[in-house]
């Protein structure tokens, strides 16, 4: 078997097997593997003709199958794609442009006007125009011949704690490693029909884009608007016979929390992978009851290690005060649980989740300083250079030998002489009837725990419940009710926004 070194080999291979089959679709448009292949190579040729090579190309398009073709086209051209989206705050896009200083942006008809309002004077290419370029196969072959598997494929930007986003650079080798092992865990085949939820500008969408190419599967891009209307969303899943989803937890609890599963069940769904946040067991049980025969898979991993690093296939019932483990690392990945003095944590002992393996990305673009803070020498190896990625997440191994997520390192606080996990308070609150979501922050100056929650529960009842269930020193000093929990683009609770809310109150 030939060793794969380029992510495009998936497409080059599958287009020979099922050229006419639909690869990516939405409600109105369907793109066959042949169309994807032809249009992507046209874009690659166009970039070559323009003298673009080994440089970032911004893809500024709406959430649409064409956007995926643009990504692949950039890679055919020997460049790497940087997805941005109209949904992103304007300020964030400006910071990305400052960091990246790109020479080229690919737009569609929905973004070509708004790009003019940015402080950017490089080339603007229209998707519909550049896909008309006649393919120069000889040029593309030469680009491929020179490519190696540590060349970048994409840069995706994640929030930095300081407010300046960090551009994570991933290469062919780490993405291939990820797609191979993820596909095994999800049991992807040619019959898989994905329903994509996550935005195309985060690494989460790798889960649908590349296994689709590897197996000749199909991906429906679900319109963002449907995530307002739970019944319509489930009807969409049924209409297109979607059987596999990899969604953030808030998208799943939107359906269960608003009572949609009592009315309509996603009848074709057999594989439900979830991540980004802890799944409240009460909500999770509603899903399991509705789909008792489906496989539920908890995924965990940072963008810095190419998407996901650990998985757990749910194989038992969970009590309300338990949390679903993140299980075990993917094949060819190792998790080191390191204590504060850099030794391996014992069973049951907490440690920082550190990742070693091919899945590590290359670091942050144009930012050696922040890269070197978290991509560090493996402290257990003093003999030769070897990088690990420090996630900043705290985990432990439970009595069953499974890895369990405990909290973010920065949510571990010292309060009234006790070490407290804010995540533990949140877990207790999430068990209360009527609570949809709870999140805590800590005011370090005034030494106060502040809890925000969403749900049909009065503040007084929420406080009383805390007092009943938690030791005195863990009861929040201030409780605020919200209509909606602010989320980041990755679907995580936006604790920075909560802190701002608290500071401005």
């Amino acid at each position: 078997m030939d060793r794969q070194i380029n992510i495009l080999e998936y497409l080059d291979n599958i287009v020979k097997i099922c050229p006419e089959k639909t690869a990516y679709a939405n409600e109105t448009d369907e793109l066959s593997f042949k169309t994807v292949y032809d249009n992507a190579r046209a874009i690659g040729t166009f970039l070559h003709n323009e003298g673009r090579y080994k440089e970032p190309i911004v893809v500024f398009m709406r959430k649409h199958p064409d956007t995926i073709v643009a990504f692949l086209g950039v890679v055919y051209g020997g460049c790497y794609y940087v997805p941005i989206d109209n949904e992103m705050p304007r300020h964030r896009i400006e910071l990305i442009f400052q960091d990246l200083k790109p020479r080229s942006v690919i737009c569609d008809e929905t973004t070509i006007d708004s790009i003019k309002s940015f402080d950017y004077d490089g080339a603007v290419y229209s998707y519909n125009e550049i896909t008309k370029t006649p393919v120069n196969q000889a040029a593309l072959d030469e680009i491929r011949d020179k490519a190696i598997d540590t060349d970048p494929i994409y840069i995706v930007f994640t929030s930095g704690s300081t407010g300046r986003p960090k551009g994570v650079v991933a290469n062919h080798r780490s993405v291939i490693d990820y797609i191979e092992t993820l596909s095994e865990v999800l049991q992807v085949s040619g019959d898989t029909v994905f329903g994509n939820q996550t935005p195309l500008y985060v690494d989460a969408c790798l889960k649908e884009i590349y296994p689709t190419l590897k197996f000749g599967a199909k991906t429906y891009i679900i319109p963002k608007e449907l995530f307002m209307f739970p019944i319509k969303l489930v009807e969409f899943l049924n209409k297109y016979k979607i059987n596999t989803i990899c969604w953030v937890v808030p998208a799943l609890t939107l359906i269960s929390g608003l009572g949609a599963l009592d009315k309509v069940v996603p009848q074709y769904l057999h594989t439900i992978a979830f991540g980004s946040e802890v799944f409240p067991i009460k909500q999770f049980n509603m899903w399991r009851k509705a789909l008792p025969n489906a496989r539920f898979i908890n995924l965990y991993g940072p963008t810095e290690a190419t998407g996901m690093s650990c998985y757990y296939v749910v194989d038992r019932e969970f009590a309300l005060d338990e949390s679903i483990p993140i299980g075990r690392p993917f094949k060819n990945t190792e998790i080191l649980l390191l204590t504060e003095d850099n030794r391996l944590a014992q069973k049951g002992e907490q440690g920082e989740i550190c990742i070693r393996g091919t899945s590590l990305t290359m670091g942050y673009y144009n930012d050696f300083e922040r890269t070197n803070e978290v991509f560090v020498q493996n402290p257990l190896n003093t003999m030769y250079p070897e990088l690990i990625y420090r996630t900043g997440d705290i985990g432990k191994i439970n009595e069953r030998g499974e890895l369990v997520f405990v909290s973010r390192k920065d949510y571990q606080i010292k309060h009234m002489g006790h070490r407290i996990e804010l995540g533990e308070i949140e877990m207790v609150m999430n068990q209360m009837d009527g609570i949809q979501s709870a999140a805590c922050i800590f005011d370090n100056d005034k030494k106060k725990i502040i809890m925000y929650y969403v749900g049909n529960v009065s503040k007084a009842d929420a406080v009383n419940y805390c007092k009943e269930k938690l030791p005195r020193y863990m009861v929040p000093n201030l409780v605020e009710k919200l209509d909606v929990m602010p989320l980041t683009s990755n679907g995580k609770i936006n604790r920075l926004a909560l802190k701002e809310m608290y500071a401005n109150r």
Binding site: E225, M228, I231, L258, K263, V454, N456, D483
Partner: protein, 76 residues
Amino acid sequence: METLLEILGELHPEIDFETHKSLIDDKILDSFDIVTIIAEVNDRYGVAIPAHEITPENFNSASALYELIQRLMDED
């Protein structure tokens, strides 16, 4: 109706909700707004909007939403 206009006005002060009839079609409201409206309507009117009533038609205008609230209150 005034309470409802207040809820909507807090979300989007720039919109005239008395005349705007295509809040969903014109992408004025997003999923954040819908969840907020459901929670606020529950708090202020004491009615829970069931899943099958969370539709684009019922949220496309303030008057459609108000009709829904009235209907749900009558059913109680």
